[in-house]
């Protein structure tokens, strides 16, 4: 049971200091979660901390590939507008995994 940071991560550092298990580490090209350490925050917090603060929609997914913050859920930007901004990669990711 562990969460995954994918290639949409913008390396903003927000999640790293919050992890109760020090499972998150800086890596190239983007931050990663050590699956052996991640507990999805069970026992420490009501919600996984990395997914609670991450500002990038779809950058964090669970082990089934389901994104924790789907498109539009954080910014409120309508899906058509995201498409217009060439954010298709984000939408594809959300569609493929859900």
């Amino acid at each position: 049971m562990a969460l995954i940071i994918n290639e949409l991560c913008v390396n903003c550092f927000a999640c790293e200091p919050l992890c109760p298990n020090k499972a998150i580490y800086e890596a190239k090209p983007h931050f990663l979660i050590n699956p052996d350490l991640c507990t999805e925050c069970l026992g420490d917090h009501d919600a996984p901390q990395c997914a609670e603060i991450c500002p990038i929609e779809c950058a964090i997914e669970d082990e089934y590939g389901e994104v924790l913050n789907p498109p539009g859920s954080l910014t409120g930007i309508p899906l058509q507008a995201l498409q217009a901004l060439h954010e298709q990669s984000v939408l594809d990711k959300a569609a493929a995994r859900s």
Binding site: F13, A47, L74, A84, L85
Partner: protein, 472 residues
């Protein structure tokens, strides 16, 4: 600035970002050490730097605290005018307390002659005030866009607070409460506080006069209203949902409405957060990471040079201020005797500094806007000629740049410059702006007063504009 209390005036008069005089002499720089943020604003997309705090689409070079200190020392040793270091992002400095305070701690030790400033959204501010008070903090800037959660929920989709992402009205309530508490705590400890607001038409434009009143009553020394930047290509909620930014006139009107209330920072340039140098210039290329890596810095020697330069500049500024004060008395005497029923006129000036009209129209990257009226001449604001043109390929041709410049001069009736080309002259006239190159090298205030007098003599200053009289 004349209504600021003396002790605050002392603190800001040599500050490159606040003092109209000082920014030609002193410089500031920013370092990007704080990537994380703890809130989301509708004018920001975290895939880029914050569009409203820095130049959109330009991603700052993220530095570790050690690199940031090295860079600061390198710049301060080579540009002795560099007096203020800001930590302003790309995220929120106080959402990255270790990185921000590591930087401050090292600089307090190694370069005690550099003042520090920090910008924040305020959410973590109350927790950081005591640590801030330990350093050589020049001032803290809080971005406060509202004091009413009903307005706030239209600006902030979420905050991260006590281990949870909180959305909606509750998020705005918490953020506002924390901002106000942080403001009060800083004032209690005698730390200068500046407030920034982003003006969002239809969202908080009507509300910002109230914000201005509240933050002033609590002791903020400046309230700086900045226009929303919301180009769709920046990928922000506002950009993608068609929320427009204010026109220059709307911005001026709001600044006028608030200026009765408190000191507004009229000459703010939404400078790039990682710019290096005097305001309006950027020497950042000289201080990239690989270049500073090999620099030998003798900071003790640099400190001596810096102290000498500072003393010289302050002496020069003081003598200029004295001369100006003497002149203002004369101007006000003259204006008292003139007829009061004249309408005010806005005029733009192209200058590269020194208080005189000395720049070619085509070379001006920004214009100073003054208002001439029966009461005299007063400075209103800076307008960027390239505000919407960040050098991307879409606006390379001269005609569209000129079009943007003319748009930036909206509301001005005259533009004073040292020289101007034939083609822009015609375009300006068509747009109802009279170019004027007759006052090259003259002091700005004198030239504007002279043009205003000419307009009066020509009967152009009747209370109603001429075209309305004709149609009546």
């Amino acid at each position: 600035m004349n209504v600021l209390p003396d002790h605050i005036m002392k603190k800001v008069q040599d500050h490159p970002c606040y003092s109209e005089d000082a920014h030609h002499y002193f410089a500031r720089m920013h370092v990007a050490v704080a990537p994380a943020c703890n809130i989301q604003c509708n004018y920001c997309n975290r895939k880029y730097d914050c569009a409203n705090e820095s130049r959109p689409g330009v991603v700052s070079e993220l530095l570790t605290p050690v690199q940031a200190v090295k860079k600061t020392l390198a710049v301060a040793a080579n540009i002795p005018q560099m007096s203020v270091l800001g930590v302003a992002g790309p995220g929120d400095p106080l959402a990255n307390p270790e990185r921000t305070f590591d930087t401050f701690r090292m600089l307090s030790e190694q370069a005690p002659d550099i003042k520090l400033c920090v910008s924040t959204n305020g959410l973590s501010l109350p927790d950081c005030v005591d640590e801030l008070a330990k350093h050589n903090i020049d001032h803290v800037t809080i971005t406060i866009n509202c004091v009413d959660p009903e307005v706030g929920e239209k600006i902030y989709p979420w905050i991260f607070w006590q281990n949870r992402r909180i959305k909606g009205r509750e998020a705005a309530e918490i953020l506002i409460e924390r901002q106000q508490k942080g403001l009060e705590m800083l004032i209690e400890r005698g730390i200068l506080v500046k407030v920034n607001s982003v003006m969002i038409p239809g969202v908080n434009d009507q509300h910002l006069a109230e914000v201005s009143r509240v933050v002033k009553s609590k002791g903020a020394f400046l309230h700086n209203v900045m226009p929303l930047i919301s180009e769709p290509e920046h990928g922000t909620f506002y950009g993608l949902t068609g929320q427009r930014g204010p026109t220059q006139d709307e911005l001026n009107d709001l600044q006028d409405a608030c200026s009765g209330d408190m000191n507004m920072m009229r000459h703010c340039r939404q400078c790039r957060a990682d710019a290096v140098g005097l305001l309006g210039e950027d020497r950042g290329d000289e201080f990239t990471l690989d270049k500073i890596e090999n620099m030998e810095i003798d900071y003790a020697a640099a400190m001596v040079v810096r102290a000498e330069l500072r003393a010289d500049v302050i002496a020069e500024l003081e003598s200029k201020r004295a001369a100006k004060a003497a002149k203002q008395n004369v101007v006000s005497l003259v204006s008292l005797s003139s007829a009061p029923a004249l309408r005010p006129v806005k005029m733009a000036v192209a200058t590269s500094g020194g208080g005189v009209i000395n720049q070619h129209f085509g070379h001006a990257k920004e214009f100073l806007v003054y208002e001439a009226s029966a009461q005299g001449v007063r400075f209103l604001s800076h307008r960027k000629a390239d505000q919407y043109c960040a050098g991307d390929t879409s606006c390379g041709d001269g005609e569209s740049v000129l079009g943007m410049t003319i748009k930036a001069l909206e509301g001005c009736e005259v533009v004073l410059c040292s020289k101007i080309g034939f083609e822009p002259w015609g375009m300006l006239e068509t747009a109802g702006i009279q170019p004027n190159g007759e006052h090259a090298m003259e002091p700005i205030e004198d030239a504007i007063a002279a043009v205003y007098a000419e307009m009066q003599a020509a009967g152009k200053l009747l209370v109603q504009p001429a075209h309305q009289l004709k149609s009546a």
